[in-house]
């Protein structure tokens, strides 16, 4: 904490105890002592008539240079590393190179970490910080926040990246509040500022209508959550090794206040969309749910995966896990085929970085054609079978 009370100067008047909005000062042996409720607000500083309380205002500013290295949170579920981690390692390597002279590190929490550690080295991590405990086998906000926050204090990374998954988005804000730093959500682009070597985090806002680039100039670490499917995966280098550094583990069972009763997997695979090389997506133009039979047939034939627009999902024609776009999954396949999708900005935000976009729509003025490499104005029920024929 940045607020300190000098035991020599304290006269035990207890004025500061009353001034503290957080009940963070207690009298112990007639001296004021700061407890862990302190938020470093400084309300007590001027109330002290003896100059016994000081607040180190510039501490964060001075200390910035102590922070180095790029960290990736190596999210795992049931002993399997979440795919976005490899995308973050790919991006993290670029960031580490652009900063210069820093390591790319992963922080891995769980149990039986051997195999996962090896995969992280092969994907480019120079160092893997490990926390091995039965208490960390499954994600909990309490357990993971404590361990990672303490590791950040211990090893002082300059940048920490998290996948913007349901776990990453639960965890990262809590850590940011605990270690008192900034966090930028759902980034789609990360760069290093050439001058300051700080990170430039670009993210969509207003449903993808606006992009904002965010800096975190005076706090460390700089932290981002990154949308799955946006960054390019690191190519694995078989046999590549690195350094394993176990973190100091102070976690106790009582630190975890929530209890997981059950974890149930319902969808066959959450990664299929982000990993797919070909995606065939259907929208409102299908007319009804049966349209997805044709989409599925086509996708199966070309080794692709079925996607959908929000309109098709909202109509109940297909499960949400297939939704592509701002509120669904962001995808970057080699070929994206949009069938009967008009191209709302929210949808475009989730697929327009695909290498090749083919759009089939009855309306020649559909916005989807504005991002399509190849646009076909016509009935998808006629065009798709012909395309299937031509490809096979």
């Amino acid at each position: 904490m940045a607020v300190k009370i000098s035991a020599e100067k304290c006269k035990g008047c207890s004025l500061c105890v009353k001034a503290c909005p957080f009940s963070a000062i207690e009298m112990v042996d007639k001296k004021a002592v700061i407890n862990d409720k302190c938020t470093a607000c400084g309300a007590c500083v001027e109330k002290c008539n003896f100059g016994a309380i000081t607040k180190d205002e510039e501490k964060a500013g001075k200390d910035l240079s102590a922070y180095r290295d790029v960290w990736v949170f190596a999210e795992q579920r049931g002993g399997v590393i979440t795919p976005v981690v490899f995308e973050l390692l790919g991006k993290g390597r670029e960031l580490a190179t652009d900063i210069g002279g820093v390591n790319l590190c992963a922080i891995l929490l769980g149990k039986d970490l051997g195999d996962m550690t090896k995969q992280l080295f092969e994907a480019g991590a120079d160092v893997v910080y490990t926390a091995n405990s039965d208490l960390l086998a499954n994600y909990t906000a309490d357990g993971y926040t404590k361990v990672i926050s303490e590791a950040i204090d211990e090893f002082k990374p300059e940048i920490v990246l998290y996948g913007a998954t349901h776990i990453g988005r639960d965890l990262a804000p809590r850590i940011a509040a605990r270690v008192n730093t900034g966090l930028t959500a759902d980034c789609t682009k990360l760069d290093i500022d050439e001058e300051t070597k700080g990170i430039l985090q670009t993210r969509p806002a207003f449903g993808g209508n606006l992009m904002a680039t965010i800096k975190c100039p005076n706090h460390r670490p700089q932290m981002s959550t990154v949308r799955p499917g946006v960054m390019t995966k690191a190519k694995p280098q078989p046999g590549r090794m690195g350094q394993v550094v176990p973190v100091t583990l102070k976690l106790q069972e009582s630190d975890i206040r929530t209890k997981i009763l059950e974890i149930v997997k319902t969808a066959k695979d959450m990664v299929s969309l982000t990993d797919a090389e070909i995606i065939v997506s259907g929208g409102a133009g299908l007319g009804d749910a049966s349209g997805f039979e044709l989409i599925k047939k086509f996708a199966d034939r070309v080794g692709g995966v079925v996607g959908a627009s929000r309109a098709a999902v909202d109509a109940g024609w297909i499960d949400h896990s297939h939704q592509v776009g701002q509120t669904g999954t962001t995808v970057k396949p080699k070929i994206y085929i949009a069938c009967g999708i008009s191209g709302a900005i929210q949808h475009l935000a989730g697929m327009q970085t695909s290498d090749i976009i083919i759009a089939i729509n009855k309306s020649p003025i559909a916005p989807i054609f504005e991002v399509a490499d190849y646009g076909i104005v016509g009935d998808l029920y006629q065009v798709l079978p012909e395309l299937m024929e031509a490809w096979s």
Partner: protein, 262 residues
């Protein structure tokens, strides 16, 4: 039982369009609404109130004076009390400073069992303020709540949505839960509710009313700074393929083969 619900007034971003000539956002005529996930958060609180007599539901929002509109809407749906945190000093806050402000107000309220918030707001989509409030208050959290199964004295059982399934979690109170749209279907305002809500007072607090330090709130206290904003560049129209479905399909296939995509 006492339940707090954190809500936000947001522009209806589904209505926001880009002026194609200037590349800027057209905000005129875009209505302000109660953030959709927050509506689910409120509904969850009201459903608990319906089942548990003597439950008080208080809604809290931070925003400009006109954000009172959504608080009136919440009261018309059944919330008992409303608090608006409004001051220029709160303006321009990022999630870190926003959560400090709201947590400060909750500390002042002091007595609560459950805090509900929406998973995320549609203008920022960050999903950060809920967990950060929980952290500031030192209470446990579950985000992405899609079902509240049990609400017993001192603990709750909730279903947390995952990308590929769900978790069942038991959590002690006081705690913070964030709601997704699958949690429930929000009720409409009743005529009597609207009439009553308009008669009621909204408590307005500024920075002097809550236990927070001036260097923890607003734009200056925010660790993240917006460096620049811009409208995304459209990828640009490619080739429109003419002809019958058969001809068009053949043409596209030929092009893809030429570029070695097939």
């Amino acid at each position: 039982m006492k339940i707090l619900v954190c809500v936000k007034q947001v522009p209806n971003t589904n209505e926001v369009k880009i002026n194609p000539k200037t590349g800027t956002l057209i905000r005129d005529g875009v209505e302000s609404i109660l953030n959709p996930d927050d509506d689910n958060a409120l509904e969850a609180a009201l459903q608990i109130k319906d089942k548990n007599e003597g439950t008080n539901v208080t809604v809290i929002s931070m925003g400009p004076p006109q954000a009172a509109d959504v608080l009136i809407e919440c009261m018309a749906k059944g919330a008992d009390d409303a608090i608006l945190l409004s001051s220029r000093a709160f303006g321009g806050a990022d999630t870190w400073a926003t959560s400090n402000t709201i947590a400060g107000a909750i500390r002042k309220i002091a007595d609560y069992d459950i805090i509900f918030a929406g998973r995320q707001a549609i203008d920022g989509d960050t999903a950060q303020v809920g967990p950060q409030i929980a952290e500031r208050l030192g209470i446990p959290q579950v985000t992405y709540v899609e079902e509240v199964l049990k609400c017993e004295d001192g603990k709750l059982t909730v279903k947390r949505q995952l990308e590929d399934g769900y978790e069942m979690i038991e959590i002690p109170t006081p705690c913070l839960l964030t709601a997704v749209k699958e949690l429930n279907t929000p009720r409409y305002m009743s005529v009597k509710g609207i009439y009553d809500a308009c008669e009621r007072e909204i408590t307005v607090w500024n920075e002097t009313d809550i236990p927070v330090s001036p260097d923890e709130i607003g734009i200056n206290a925010s660790p993240t700074k917006v460096y620049r904003s811009f409208t995304p560049k459209p990828k640009g129209r490619g080739m429109m393929v003419e002809g019958t479905p058969k001809e068009a399909a053949a043409k596209v296939t030929e092009e893809l083969k030429k570029k070695h995509f097939l």
